[in-house]
C-alpha cells in the first residue's frame, strides 16, 4: 500500500455512491427539476423517473409496484412499518383489546427504540433473546406467540455481526399459525444489510408483509428508504400533508434519490455471483488473519460462514477498548467501527453483543470490519498488519 493510502472498511455503515448510480441521478437536480405532482411536462418528467424506479424496486422484490412506498430513510421505513400498522390496527380493535409485538434484542435502534416508545403507550412488546451465535431461535418465537400477537419484526441480517436471521422460516411459521388464528400476525423485516447479498423475493421466498430497504447501503444515495407493504396490510400514514406515495407518505418525492435507489437495486439484480464469492473469500481471509495474527482475539457471531452475510466480521480483543481502536486505525488511514455507526458514540456496550452473552469488557472491546465491492486483497493485508501494531500499542497502555 502507498504511504498515506486510505482504506475504507465500514461498508455496513454506508457505501459510496456507484458512479453509474450517480449518473442516473444527475439529470434530476437542475435539468429535470420538476415537482412530480405537477401536471405539466416538467412534473411528468419527474413522475416518470419515480414510476421507473418503483418498477425497478418491485422487480427486485418480486412484488407489485403499487406495494412500494419511498421514504426518507430505512429508519423512517421501520418506524412507519410498526407505527403505521399499529395506528391502523388500533382503529379496528375493540376497546381494551391488547396489541402485542414480538421483536428481538438485537434489532437496529430504529426498531428497538420505536418499541420502547410504544411500550409507554401500553403496547406489549416481547424481545426475543439470541444464542451465542447471535441468531434467534424459532422455538422461542413460537413460544411467545399469543392470541393478541399482531406483529413480528425481525431483521434479516444483523448490522453488527452479520448474523443471518431465519426470515424465510419465520415467514412459513407465521403463515401456518395465521391459518388458525382469529386475526393475522403481520411480519416485518428490516433488510438493510441483506439487500446486497440475500434473496429478497418478498412474496415467494420470504412471506413478509412489510420489508425495509435503504439506499445508501447499496451504493445508492443517503436520505432514501423503501417500505414494501403487501397489498391488504392495514397501515396508516404517519406523515400527512399530501397524497404522494399513495397517500401514505406526504412530501415532495426526492426524485434524484429515488432514481438512484431504483438503479442501484437493478445493479444488484444483474450483479455477478462471483462478487459474492469473492467477498466471502476476502472475509474468510480477514477472519483467519485476525485470529492467527492477533493473540487473544475472538470472532463474534455465527461460526458457520453460511450463517453470516459476506461483508461483516465482528471481533473482540482482550485488553483493548473499541473506540480507541477505531481512532488508532483511523490515524493509520483505516476506517472501521465499533458495533454500529449509530451506537459508536454511546457509552454503553453494544446491546447486540450483550444479548449474545459477551461480557461487558468483551463487548466494549469489539471492532466491526465490513467489506464492500471496492475492497481488495491488498487492503486486507495492510489492515492485518496495522491492526496487530495498533492492538499491541493499546495493550501496552492498558496493561490488561
Amino acid at each position: 500500500m502507498k504511504q498515506g493510502a486510505k482504506i475504507y472498511l465500514d461498508y455496513a455503515a454506508t457505501t459510496p455512491i456507484d458512479k453509474k448510480v450517480l449518473k442516473a441521478m444527475a439529470p434530476y437536480f437542475s435539468e429535470k427539476y420538476g415537482n412530480p405532482t405537477s401536471i405539466h411536462s416538467w412534473g411528468q418528467e419527474a413522475q416518470t423517473a419515480i414510476d421507473k424506479a418503483r418498477e425497478q424496486v418491485a422487480k427486485f422484490l418480486n412484488c407489485k409496484s403499487s406495494e412500494i412506498v419511498f421514504t426518507g430513510s430505512a429508519s423512517e421505513s421501520d418506524n412507519f412499518a410498526i407505527r403505521g400498522l399499529l395506528k391502523a390496527l388500533k382503529r379496528c380493535k375493540r376497546a381494551g383489546e391488547k396489541i402485542h409485538i414480538i421483536t428481538s434484542q438485537i434489532e437496529h435502534k430504529a426498531v428497538l427504540e420505536t418499541c420502547y416508545d410504544l411500550e409507554k403507550e401500553n403496547v406489549k412488546i416481547t424481545y426475543l433473546p439470541v444464542g451465542n451465535d447471535g441468531i434467534i431461535n424459532l422455538d422461542d418465537l413460537k413460544a411467545e406467540i399469543i392470541p393478541e400477537t399482531d406483529l413480528v419484526s425481525i431483521m434479516y441480517v444483523n448490522n453488527e455481526t452479520g448474523a443471518i436471521q431465519p426470515i424465510q422460516k419465520i415467514g412459513r411459521l407465521l403463515e401456518e399459525i395465521n391459518k388458525n388464528k382469529e386475526h393475522r400476525i403481520f411480519f416485518h423485516t428490516d433488510a438493510v444489510q441483506a439487500a446486497n447479498w440475500l434473496n429478497c423475493d418478498v412474496v415467494e421466498k420470504l412471506g413478509v408483509d412489510l420489508f425495509t430497504l435503504s439506499g445508501h447501503k447499496i451504493y445508492g444515495p443517503k436520505g432514501i428508504g423503501v417500505l414494501y407493504i403487501r397489498q391488504g396490510t392495514p397501515i396508516s400514514s404517519m406523515i400527512t400533508g399530501g397524497d404522494q406515495e399513495w397517500g401514505l407518505r406526504a412530501g415532495t418525492g426526492n426524485v434524484a434519490a429515488i432514481a438512484g435507489l431504483g438503479f442501484a437495486l437493478e445493479q444488484i439484480k444483474i450483479q455477478d455471483t462471483r462478487y459474492k464469492i469473492q467477498t466471502e473469500k476476502l472475509r474468510d481471509k480477514l477472519v483467519k488473519g485476525v485470529l492467527t495474527k492477533v493473540s487473544e482475539s475472538q470472532l463474534n457471531g455465527p461460526e458457520k460462514p453460511k450463517e453470516r452475510a459476506p461483508h461483516i466480521a465482528n471481533f473482540s480483543f482482550r485488553g483493548v477498548e473499541g473506540e480507541s481502536l477505531v481512532i488508532s486505525l483511523d490515524q493509520e488511514g483505516i476506517g472501521a467501527s465499533t458495533g454500529s455507526a449509530c451506537t459508536s458514540r454511546a457509552l454503553l456496550p453494544s446491546h447486540v453483543l450483550m444479548a449474545m452473552g459477551l461480557s461487558e469488557l468483551q463487548a466494549h472491546s469489539s471492532l466491526r470490519v465490513s467489506l464492500g465491492k471496492y475492497t481488495t486483497t491488498r487492503e486486507i493485508d495492510y489492515f492485518l498488519k496495522v491492526l496487530w501494531t495498533v492492538v499491541e500499542r493499546l495493550r501496552k497502555i492498558s496493561g490488561r
Partner: protein, 128 residues
Amino acid sequence: MYNKKIIQHFTNPKFFGKIKNPDAVGNAGNPRCGDLLTLYLKVDNPPANKTKKITDIRFQTLGCASAIAASDMICELAKGKTLDKALKISFKDVSKSLGVLPPLKIHCAQLVTEALRDAIGKYKKLSG
C-alpha cells in the same frame, strides 16, 4: 470529535506503564462504561518539616481515546505536586488542560481524578 491536544495525548502518552514497587496504587472505572484505570505513585520521603511530593506517576488505562488522554494529563498535572495540592486537582482542571473534553466524555476526567484520589487516600492511610 476530539481536538488536537486530546489526540496528541492519546497517540503519544508520556506516562503510561507501571512503577515497580509503587508507594500507592489507585483504581477507578467499571466494565460497564468500558473504562478501567490504574494509577501508580511514587512519593518522596522529605524531612519532617517538609510536605510530601509525588515524584513519579504512571497509568495503565483500558478505555476510549479520551480516557487515555485524561490519564496522561492527570499524571502531567500531578507529577511534582504535593499530595495535598494533587488532591485538589479537579475534573475541570483535567478537561481544561486537554482543551475541554466533549460533553459525552467528561466522565473520563472524573474517572482519572477519582483514581488519583484513591491512590493518595490509600497512601495516607498506609503511612498513617
